[in-house]
């Protein structure tokens, strides 16, 4: 007993001590200016930093830290990141990122309810705008030439309902777009080996697509000792767009999410109950009975899906490029380039495909950073972002240092050095040795500069071509194209309302509830339709359509049509 008391007393005392220690102010590593480095105040004569050739900001000697909350889960780079240290040295500004852990809706609800805001937030814009958390920026932007020039073409899109501009958009803010090399969005993907085996055809219809797969599977029932899988359909949680989205693309639309918008009348309708959809799922039903589709595809989780793909045994699937990248990386790392995938232009007969999006000169307008009313120094932060947007700073962040990280080519382009490529391909190294995180979550240049030079390595054609494997080079040569995306029709400039999935609906509104129910019905019926006996299909389809119509989806369609009209004006 005495011992118990002694132990507890000891614990209580030691934690009191530790608590006091823990509650003391954290050492701010911001003020870590290295005295004596080349950051003199430029007066008249512009003094450039030796290493990077960049011009420091006027108040570089006055350190300040801004806290920015980001809605993506990610890891913040450590303070020892050399690029970030250099940026801090040249500007005095340190950005302290807080990334999301757990559920965004809950975190946002709590932040708004408490008004406990950081200096800037990149999350869902409308709850914060409604709460009055953000500062209007339209009066301040003209004071910052780079920011103003960057956003001026999109001023309309950036204006919220109340006439103010709150958000510094982070995506697709570009007037000159780079070519698209591979389809990183939705598409019917097929393994390169299948196309190679068939003599490099370009399938354009579902029938052609599946015939190729059937032929290859019949010839190679095993790949590397494991059973070949014809066609996979991912149904795990929110990733089941693999199951739901194809019909709209078959009809020649882009990815509008849950509706098909008629290109002429601009009216939204449900494609899920269309003839295209019925034919699509009937086709899948037939393929299931031929053994091309396995029942397991409906119960497996994402990890199992990637497992199969990483082993190179999956011949085809419908997915979005970024979703299965993990598997492609494994295949490439093992040199199995013939087992990687390429998107093919599958549509209803006679319809032009439009899988690739071209920026339409409009930006979503709400996918960016809002500066909160709790920001300690709005002007300084804007000046910082303005400074970041300079071309040579962007170059430094995206490409690195000339000679060490990249090489200038005679045609004006750039390629990365092999060392830099290694760094970029390793997630941890990219985070710790480059300015990628800072660049990604600040106003940034993407696409091409006015003179046609690529902003980043992913926009650079030279870089893309230089990083191709020999197999891929041969593959492309056999099709007489420069990059895989050219198998598809050129990127389509979308109308102003696009994409519907980015539309914001009022929380808890009947529109959202209606679309929820519709999606749930699809989730329930599609697998059953595909797995049904051939003669049960029609009856089940009628049941499915009846159920959709029973759950009145009109509020949703009306709201969508209303917002389409609004965006088009």
């Amino acid at each position: 007993m005495k011992q118990f008391r002694r132990i507890s007393a000891f614990i209580l005392i030691s934690c009191l001590i530790l608590m006091v220690a823990a509650c003391m102010k954290p050492k701010n590593t911001v003020g870590e200016k290295t005295p004596g480095t080349a950051t003199p105040k430029p007066q008249g004569n512009v003094v450039r930093d030796e290493e990077t050739g960049l011009v420091p900001m006027a108040d570089a000697g006055d350190p300040i830290t801004f806290k920015v909350f980001i809605r993506d889960p990610s890891t913040a780079p450590s303070k020892s990141n050399p690029v970030l240290k250099k940026i801090t040295e040249l500007t005095g500004v340190t950005i302290d990122f807080e990334f999301l852990v757990g559920d965004l809706a809950q975190k946002q609800g709590v932040m708004i309810a408490s008004e406990d805001y950081p200096d800037a937030i990149f999350a869902e814009a409308s709850p914060f705008i409604d709460a009055g958390a953000f500062i209007p920026l339209e009066d301040k932007l003209p004071q910052y030439p780079n920011l103003y020039a960057h956003y001026a073409p999109f001023a309309d899109d950036m204006t919220a309902k109340d006439g103010h501009q709150y958000i510094l958009e982070l995506y697709s803010v570009t007037t000159k777009t780079a070519p698209i090399f591979t389809d990183s969005g939705p598409g019917f993907f097929i393994q390169k080996a299948v196309l190679e085996e068939a003599g490099y055809p370009i399938p354009r219809t579902l029938d052609e697509y599946f015939k190729l797969i059937e032929a290859y599977k019949a010839k190679y029932p095993l790949i590397d000792g494991m059973k070949t899988v014809g066609f996979e359909i991912l149904c795990d949680g929110w990733r089941d767009f693999c199951l739901m989205n194809p019909p709209q693309h078959l009809m020649g639309a882009g990815n509008d999410g849950n509706v098909y918008v008629d290109p002429v009348t601009l009216k939204a309708s449900l494609y899920q109950t269309s003839d295209t959809a019925r034919n699509y799922y009937r086709k899948l039903n037939e393929e299931y009975h031929k053994g091309i589709i396995e029942a397991e595809t409906f119960t497996q989780n994402y990890d199992q899906y990637i497992n199969k793909m990483s082993n190179g045994v999956v011949l085809g699937f419908f997915d979005q490029g970024w979703d299965f990248m993990a598997a492609e990386n494994v295949l490439r790392a093992e040199g199995k380039f013939n087992r990687t995938y390429v998107a093919v232009p599958i549509t209803n007969p006679g319809v032009t495909d439009s899988y690739l999006d071209s920026p339409n000169g409009n930006i979503p307008g709400f996918n960016g950073i809002g500066i909160t009313k709790k920001c300690k120094n709005v002007d300084r932060l804007l000046a910082f972002y303005d400074w970041l947007l300079q071309e040579d700073v962007q170059n430094y962040l995206q490409w690195g240092i000339e000679g060490k990280d990249y090489i200038d080519l005679e045609n004006g382009g750039k390629v990365l050095t092999p060392e830099r490529r290694d760094i970029i391909n390793d997630e941890a190294k990219k985070r710790e040795l480059t300015g990628h995180v800072l660049w990604n979550y600040s106003p940034k240049r993407q696409g091409l500069y006015e003179n046609g030079e690529p902003c980043s390595p992913s926009d650079s054609e030279d870089e893309y071509l230089a990083s191709l494997s020999e197999y891929d080079q041969n593959f492309l040569k056999s099709y007489n194209i420069k990059y895989p995306a050219q198998l598809l029709s050129p990127p389509v400039v979308r109308p102003a309302y696009y994409p519907v999935w980015s539309m914001i609906f009022e929380e808890g509104s009947s529109a959202r509830v209606a679309v929820n129910k519709m999606v749930e019905t699809c989730r329930k019926y599609y697998p059953r339709l595909i797995l049904s006996n051939l003669d049960e299909f029609d009856g089940l389809w009628q049941e499915f359509v009846a159920e959709i119509e029973h759950n009145d989806v009109k509020p949703y369609l009306e709201e969508v049509n209303r917002q389409i009209k609004q965006r088009m004006n």
């Binding site: 809706a105 309810a113 149904c235 989780n301 808890g508 929820n516 989730r523 059953r528």
Partner: protein, 320 residues
């Protein structure tokens, strides 16, 4: 000659009663001192926030707070009770909870009883430690493993059954509604049996060993000892845990059903929590979530009051 031969005036009677009461309270002041601080704490942390229940009657928006959000009466509740999906979720939750409860108790107690029979202390400790290892794994990991085992292309279970000749084609276990609740129940057993048995083992260690000796002398077998000494010995623990867990019956969980839930089995896998997630939180409708929470609380209280009453009548053992 009794004390009460003369009727005392009412005021005096009342004062005597009052004095007696004060005396009673005073005599227990140490007990009060030992419990009052914690009652206050519970008031602050558990009762005060309940003012937030007003959210269930509003169209709550975090930006507007309690006072600014629109009052909508019972609309949120109406939405819940109108939805066929909600009642389906209610049924699913009840079903899975009941199965979990039955399986959980039977296996945990059974395991504890058998473990109690192990003589070798070291072996006993090792088994016990290993048995609660799955508790520390997240459901994501456990569900991933179970998915692999139940897989219809080269999964362990299907392979075993085919090898034994029980079936000739693999079964899509996770795609057939009638198996789902059983899969959930067994997953829970796998993960929590060891952990849940700890409290029973603790209770067993408190049983007076002289009782066992007496039974031995009377010629009692192992099973008689279990039935007549061990089980009755832990009976209060079992009943108490049973009643409390019955109160949690609408908390069948979320993670397992979320991770395994797919279109094919949606109708049986969706629980109240998942329903609330889909139609509440994700849509920014915190009010709906609060309304569902109130509903769950009402049912829970009803459950424990009922089972407590029944337990008092049947087993003569009450929780409160």
């Amino acid at each position: 000659m009794t004390e009460n031969s003369v009727a005392l005036p009412k005021a005096v009677v009342r004062r005597k009663k009052w004095e007696r009461k004060i005396k009673l309270y005073k005599s227990q002041k140490s007990l009060f001192a030992m419990i009052l601080p914690w009652m206050i704490m519970t008031f602050i942390f558990s009762y005060l926030p309940l003012t937030g229940w007003i959210m269930a009657f509003q169209n709550f928006k975090p930006a507007k707070g309690y006072w600014g959000s629109k009052f909508v009466g019972f609309d949120q509740f109406a939405f819940l009770f109108r939805e066929a999906g909600f009642w389906r979720a209610f049924r699913n939750t009840l079903a899975m909870s009941t199965l979990n409860l039955i399986f959980g108790f039977v296996f945990a107690i059974g395991f504890a009883l058998l473990l109690n029979e192990i003589r070798n202390r070291f072996f006993k400790r090792v088994v016990q430690t290993v048995s609660y290892l799955p508790h520390f794994l997240s459901w994501i990991i456990v569900c991933g493993l179970i998915s692999n085992i139940l897989s219809s292309s080269d999964g362990t279970l299907n392979n075993l059954l085919m090898w034994l000749g029980v079936i000739d084609k693999p079964i899509l276990w996770l795609g057939i509604p009638k198996y789902f609740w059983w899969i959930v129940a067994f997953s829970n057993v796998w993960k929590e049996m060891g952990w849940n048995s700890i409290i029973y083992l603790a209770a067993m260690s408190a049983i007076d060993t002289s009782l066992y000796e007496a039974c031995e002398i009377d010629g009692g077998s192992r099973y008689r000892k279990m039935w007549h000494i061990t089980l009755p010995g832990i009976r209060p623990t079992i009943i108490v845990l049973l009643i409390m867990n019955l109160g949690f019956i609408l908390n069948a969980g979320f993670e397992v059903q979320y991770l395994f839930g797919r279109g094919l089995i949606m109708d049986v896998s969706e629980t109240i929590d998942i329903f609330v997630l889909k139609y509440g939180i994700t849509l920014g409708n915190y009010s709906l979530a609060t309304a569902a929470g109130i509903f769950k609380s009402v049912i829970s209280i009803f459950m424990i009051v009922t089972t407590n009453y029944l337990s008092g009548k049947i087993e003569d053992e009450k929780l409160f």
